[in-house]
């Protein structure tokens, strides 16, 4: 376990260095450029190596206990952000919003016991991996949509993030990321239902995690309906986008650990 924790520590140091670099460069009014992406990819690779070592040692993926769930989601959210950073250069200043969220996860990861998890036999199905994979894309897209919303709300208070496009364009981009998150949220729920049917003999049981995931899905649906129907302002859209991410965050990192049903600790 020492080896995987060593590489995890290296990765965390890399993330922190990248985040600090991004904040300093942003404060100086300069662009972060490819240097930040390189730093993030190096840290991501170290983190991925650490997760791989754990996977190989325990014989199952990093998504059973709280340590593994936070760690693997930190990795996947960083990956999504790196893709956005590389593909949409104009959105690079979003680092100032997204990295603090990732820092929260890193801080949380440091105080969680990295004990070895036991793999329940009901989790031994490919549908679990499909369910988790879709869930990570959903969460990543929701994070970017929420970050765009945060920028819109910040700009209502102070003239920050001036290098980013105008509010209406950020609003449209946020809508598109929410649309992506909606598709993957739907796929996540469907894959989860198939897994639940195989594992426990029911595809839906109204357990606390399922109810929260339905509420999350309805909230994204609501966000997608409100914008074209009521022509709500970018600020109102921003609030709903942030709300979607907060509910998703609670659903991913909170509900599984208070659930007393068989469906817990697994995203």
């Amino acid at each position: 376990m020492e080896r995987e924790l060593f590489f995890l520590w290296l990765a965390l140091v890399g993330y922190v260095l990248a985040g600090t670099f991004s904040l300093i460069v942003s404060l100086l009014g300069r662009r972060t450029g490819m240097a930040l992406l390189v730093m993030m990819v190096v840290a991501l690779s170290l983190h991925g190596f650490s997760l791989g070592l754990r996977w190989e040692r325990l014989g199952h993926g990093p998504f059973i206990n709280q340590f593994e769930i936070i760690s693997s989601n930190l990795w996947s959210l960083t990956l999504v952000y790196c893709v956005v950073y590389g593909r949409i250069p104009v959105l690079r200043p979003l680092a100032a919003v997204i990295l603090p969220v990732l820092f929260i996860l890193m801080g949380w990861l440091l105080v969680v016991n990295p004990f070895d998890s036991e793999y329940p036999p009901t989790y031994n199905t490919v549908w679990l991996y499909v369910h988790i994979g879709f869930g990570k894309v959903f969460m990543g897209a929701a994070l970017v949509a929420a970050a765009l919303g945060v920028v819109v709300l910040f700009r209502a208070i102070r003239p920050w993030f001036t290098s980013l496009p105008a509010d209406d364009i950020l609003d449209e981009l946020g809508y598109r990321f929410l649309a992506i998150s909606f598709v993957f949220d739907t796929l996540m729920i469907v894959a989860g239902a198939i897994w639940a049917q195989d594992a426990w003999g029911r595809y839906w049981n109204w357990d606390i995690l399922e109810v929260w995931s339905l509420i999350n899905w309805l909230l994204v649906t609501l966000a997608l309906h409100l914008r074209p129907t009521f022509h709500i302002s970018p600020r109102a859209s921003a609030v709903i986008g942030i709300l979607v991410f907060i509910v998703a965050f609670v659903n991913f990192f909170g509900v599984p650990f208070i659930s007393r049903t068989t469906h817990q600790g697994i995203i």
Binding site: T122, I169, L173, L187, I194, W206, H225
Partner: protein, 320 residues
Amino acid sequence: MRLPSLASLKWTPFFLVLLGLGAVGAAQGVASPTWLLVIPFVLLGLNLLAAIVMNAAFRAKPGLLVFHVALLGAVLLVGMGRLTYLKGWVELVKGDAFQGELTGVEKGLWHWGQLERVVFVNEGFVKEYGPNWWARRTRNSIRWMDEDGSWQQGEIGENATVTLHGYRIYTSSNHGFAPVFVWHPADQSSPIQGAIHFPSYPRYREQTNTWTIPGTDIAVVAMLLLDEPAINLVLGGVFPTVPKHQLRVTVQGETRDLVPGDRFPFASGGVLHYVELSAWMGYRIFYDWTRFWLLATFLVATLSLSWHFWRKFSMVYIKL
């Protein structure tokens, strides 16, 4: 103020909020869960149907249209599923056959299945446990009669089920010890074999239960006395492992400790023969013909929505 027509998309967010509240209410058990969900689903369904009929712009977007129609179909399928489903459970001792009789059942009003045609035999199982009695793999050998009436053999366990006449058979996490008896009546009529199902092990430590001998009013109260836990708490192990034990049996005020092979003659006549300590497995049986169609409907819905978004977003280029 005029209310918008039922076809107006302005209703949709309100009905979605209503559905969210209904879901929370159903989960909290504040009222009849069925009605809390049926009402918003019906309202959303009517809103959608009216929008499809009245709103030409909606019909002009095939991806969006297919997505919504698929959602409507999914809601109808869920409704049909709830009317026709069956969820049951049964416990079978090794060697016992299931022939359509469940210990407990929940089912829809219109369940028209053929459970009586489902026949399978529990041929024995092994449940692996890790340290701290952490449940691991279940391997249950069963034999079943297929549609042609011939016997088939296979193994079921977590994520591995067998489907007979539309009914899916699952092992459950419930299993326990089952002392097997043969009752020899005083009148020399045919012996009767039976078993006491003790509470699920190792979930419950206290292993006691009562069995009324069939055809009599004689109650047999049995308690399993284990010299040590059947599964090592530190190392784990497998269940069922028959441990060193005694069976404390009380009948008509008289108590005896029995080991396999012992006979217990009753003062009122008849002899109870303790044959062996076997084990029972709890099975769940599930029927819902809509399952496959629901999956297909959701896949159509997701694909059509993805196509819709792809077309929509690729048509409007954002200059960044």
